[in-house]
């Protein structure tokens, strides 16, 4: 049942906000359970707007996983847009879930999905709107506030605000946490004791049971447990086998158009390539594949239950899925009226052939990510693609009918020189030339997007500095000059100021929590939206805390230095990251996980080879 009185108050606001469909719930396949019939209620919170959050796969998985049990329920809540937020404050309406219009405060657990650093202040803002005290230590008699997702591999800036973080894949550990919590919440134990017990669950990081320490000069020295029995290093949870875990088949169908308005089928998790800048590549290691028989059945069920006209076969690198031909073959017979899409494709001829096969109807654009402009720099980042690979792949794309090619590059990569930037232009111009020689009639457009490297924790580039804003603007100016030579080449760039903040927060330590709070009090939230993002707000917040956003983003670390995320482990060894960092300097490639030779990242379970690596491997 929906809450009658609060529901009516919310309903009365909706004629006054833009896109009211964000707040009405009731989507096809949404689940409304009776609150009286369960013994644990979870609010799944996504700290972004509805149209972003509804595109997230993790939320879909956890939502179905909890609601199918029968003894617990899960409802969704997203960040309200600013117009809705203002009306909620004015009319004294607390943050509510979409299924039943219940205040978030009335749930037992609030679980935030942490996918992006620029969403951190949405977490604070949502706690505030829910009427839940921001700081964990001030919360007694409130829901347990937890976080999961890729940001938990360095959640230190959020440490005082959340009660615990989940490292790794949630399918097993999330129910374990909920069951443990249900067992002890009705007992006599204090919140400290409850958290202490939860810290015993593998993959759970309770930040209040750890303390960072600094030397007299304010230099970070390490993070240590403050109680006995708490593991000094928390290691992420990994599912050994994707085929035996739950996957949502009855996916919700939103009324309004969301960012990814299609059915999603996860064909693999993890990526076999070892790109040195890539955080997801480390966070989701090792690579695991679902069986094509299983996927074929799942795909049909998803389409039957949603009616979607498009099915996206997602993974970090879909062209590396080894049974693709078999899978596409079975879909072409049983899902003939459905468009398939393959995001994250590698830049080679094989990928284009695959894209050709799946995208039969409507050829919009084809997107590739060479990431760097020259073969030398691509070796530095361990992206084993030659210029000729690119020419051949894109040439085939032209022949297959694509007339809009999107290319993604990073700028500010370690060892980058101006000739690497020129390489971005030369590569794009060479593609234009290839197209001209083919003498097709239609106009071609090549759209190039560049963004500054954000050195992420747990990657081989974690010790590297981000380039300064001045360097970044100089590089963009250089590129703009070159790209202005042709109208068929378009250059776009990600806002350098936003990349700066993202870099500072991703390698941030616990001191940044005060920065988050100060910036939030100055009105910073929805920072992923350029209309709301204000660097000067953040600069002030940093300086009031005696810190500098530039120091955090632009400093380099030495290999000997303690890192604020060293007590959290992805399963990939620091020794491997150091080795890879040195190999980058030597312009040396390292093998990927599907190759004969093993790069030796240290993951104990390595499903890419279908075998257990022993620890000595």
């Amino acid at each position: 049942m929906r809450e009658q009185e609060l529901g009516q108050k919310i309903w009365d606001l909706l004629p006054r906000v833009s896109k009211p469909a964000r707040y009405v719930g009731n989507e096809w396949n949404a689940l409304l359970q009776d609150h009286g019939g369960v013994d644990l209620k979870v609010a799944l919170a996504f700290p972004e707007l509805y149209e972003i959050g509804m595109s997230n796969l993790g939320i879909k998985i956890l939502y179905g996983l909890i609601n199918r049990r029968g003894d617990m329920l899960a409802e969704r809540v997203f960040a309200p847009a600013t117009d809705m937020e203002a009306l909620m404050e004015q009319e004294d309406i607390p943050l509510f879930t979409l299924e039943s219009f219940t205040p978030v405060k009335d749930f037992d657990v609030v679980g935030f999905s942490l996918q992006h650093e620029l969403n951190y202040n949405n977490v604070l803002n949502m706690l505030y709107l829910a009427g839940i005290p921001l700081y964990g230590k001030e919360r007694s008699g409130y829901p347990l506030v937890i976080g999961g997702g890729t940001c938990t591999f360095n959640p230190e800036p959020l440490a005082p605000f959340l009660d615990l973080f989940v490292l790794g894949e949630g399918e097993e550990v999330f129910p374990e946490i909920l069951e443990t919590f249900r067992e002890i919440k009705n007992g006599q134990g204090s919140k400290e004791e409850i958290l202490y017990k939860l810290a015993g669950v593998e993959g759970v990081y309770v930040p209040s049971l750890y303390e960072p320490f600094y030397d007299s000069g304010g230099v970070f020295k390490g993070t240590v447990p403050v109680r006995e029995g708490v593991p000094p290093v928390v290691t992420k949870r990994v599912l050994p086998d994707l085929d035996s875990v739950y996957y949502p088949l009855e996916q919700m169908v939103p009324y309004m158009e969301v960012v990814h308005d299609r059915a999603v089928l996860e064909i693999a998790r993890g990526c076999p390539r070892g790109c040195r800048f890539c955080h997801a590549g480390v966070a989701y290691r090792p690579v695991r594949f679902r069986s094509p028989e299983n996927l074929s059945r799942m795909g049909q069920e998803i389409i039957n239950s949603t009616g979607y006209e498009e099915l996206s076969l997602v993974s970090l690198s879909s062209t590396d899925y080894p049974y693709m031909e078999e899978l596409l073959g079975s879909f072409s017979s049983c899902l003939s009226g459905v468009n398939l899409s393959l995001p994250s494709q590698r830049l080679d001829a094989f990928s284009v052939e695959l894209a050709k096969e799946v995208q039969k109807k409507h050829k919009t654009s084809l997107t590739f990510a060479p990431e760097a402009g020259t073969e030398r720099l691509r070796k530095v980042i361990n992206k084993d693609i030659t210029d000729n690979h690119i020419y051949e792949a894109v040439s085939r794309a032209f022949d297959a009918g694509w007339r809009l090619i999107k290319l993604y590059f990073m700028i500010g990569l370690p060892t980058e020189r101006d000739e690497d930037l020129e390489g971005i232009y030369h590569l794009s111009a060479a593609l234009l030339d290839i197209y001209r020689r083919k003498a097709y009639r239609e106009r071609l457009k090549i759209s190039v997007s560049v963004s500054a490297l954000i050195p992420k924790p747990h990657t081989p580039f974690q010790w590297e500095p981000q380039i300064t804003l001045e360097q970044c603007y100089r590089k963009i100016k250089l590129l703009r000059g070159m790209f202005s030579r042709s109208k068929q080449l378009e250059l776009k760039w990600h806002e350098p100021e936003m990349s700066l903040l993202e870099a500072a927060l991703s390698r941030g330590d616990r001191r940044l929590s005060q920065v988050l709070e100060r910036a939030w009090r100055k009105g910073s939230r929805l920072d992923n939206w350029s209309e709301f993002f204000s660097l000067s707000n953040w600069e002030q917040a940093f300086s009031e805390a005696g810190l500098s956003v530039y120091d955090y983003a632009q400093r380099s670390y030495s290999y000997q230095e303690a890192l604020p995320w060293s007590h959290l482990s992805t399963g990939v060894s620091e020794k491997f990251l150091k080795k890879e960092s040195l190999r980058a300097r030597e312009t040396e490639l390292s093998p990927g996980c599907l190759e004969e030779k093993c790069a030796g990242c240290g993951m104990i379970y390595c499903a890419g080879r279908g075998e257990m690596h022993d620890a000595a491997h």
């Binding site: 309903w11 909706l14 004629p15 009211p20 469909a21 009405v24 009731n26 096809w28 169908v253 009324y255 309004m256 158009e257 039957n304 239950s305 949603t306 009616g307 979607y308 006209e309 009226g337 109807k361 409507h362």
Partner: protein
């Protein structure tokens, strides 16, 4: 064999904030779930031949909208159609009737030209004052020669242009009625491709003409029906009959 079915449906409270285009997308997926072999049109980006009818302004409920769908199938009757699509729709979007129509029949847009709306006020505000105000407002609206409203026009150079429209010719009648829970203003307004007015616009001009905010503080708006107005009588689009 290509079939064309015309259906009537209601849009309840739970879906009143869903836009016309979103309803179209939702219906499309519902027909796909029900395994209809829909007819598509367009080569580059094929779209289903599915029409949810005359757009209903955001925030308004309706008890009788009309839509149409084309699909390949046997000689399905309206009843069979109802039972196969029914299971794929929420209560707030219920198909209430379905009839086979010939492929030559004119479109809904051509066969519908007016809508009847009921604007209603909550019980506590139905005293003599509101009634008096509505009577005064109704007189002013009906006696006006011209009633100009601003509408969002096309974008020019990235800026949204506003255009002025006189809605007086689109107002056929206004009547104040009492119902069990309060007062209603019943409006018959022109709708469709020869121009029309929305009930919100009528309430807005009434507010301006009376200088009182109360007309705009209605509790809700409901669309009662869509018709073809041929002089004296109101008829639903064929083959539907007056109920």
């Amino acid at each position: 064999m290509m079939q064309r079915i015309r259906f009537s449906y209601l849009r309840g409270e739970n879906l009143k904030f869903i836009s016309h285009l979103d309803i179209l997308r939702f219906l499309h997926r519902a027909f796909r779930r029900a395994d209809f072999n829909l007819v598509y049109r367009g080569k580059f980006n094929p779209q289903p031949r599915l029409d949810p009818g005359i757009p209903l302004p955001l925030g308004i409920t309706s008890e009788k909208e009309y839509g149409e769908v084309y699909f390949y199938g046997g000689e399905e009757t309206g009843k069979e159609f109802l039972s196969s699509i029914g299971a794929q729709l929420p209560g707030a979007l219920m198909i209430t009737g379905a009839e086979v129509v010939s492929l030559q029949e004119a479109s809904l847009m051509e066969q519908i030209d007016c809508s009847r709306y009921r604007v209603y006020w909550k019980e506590e505000s139905t005293g003599g004052e509101l009634r008096e105000l509505l009577e005064r407002g109704t007189d002013k609206v009906l006696n006006a020669e011209k009633l100009t409203v601003q509408r969002r026009g096309k974008k020019k150079k990235g800026k949204r242009q506003m255009r002025e429209v006189d809605i007086r010719p689109f107002i056929y009648s206004l009547n104040i009625e009492e119902f069990s829970r309060g007062l209603e203003l019943v409006m018959l307004l022109q709708t469709g491709n020869r121009g029309g007015a929305s009930p919100k616009e009528v309430m807005q001009v009434m507010e301006e003409l009376t200088g009182e905010p109360e007309p705009a503080n209605y509790h809700g708006i409901h669309r009662e029906g869509l018709y073809r107005y041929d002089g004296g009588s109101l008829k639903p689009p064929p083959p539907f009959k007056v109920s």
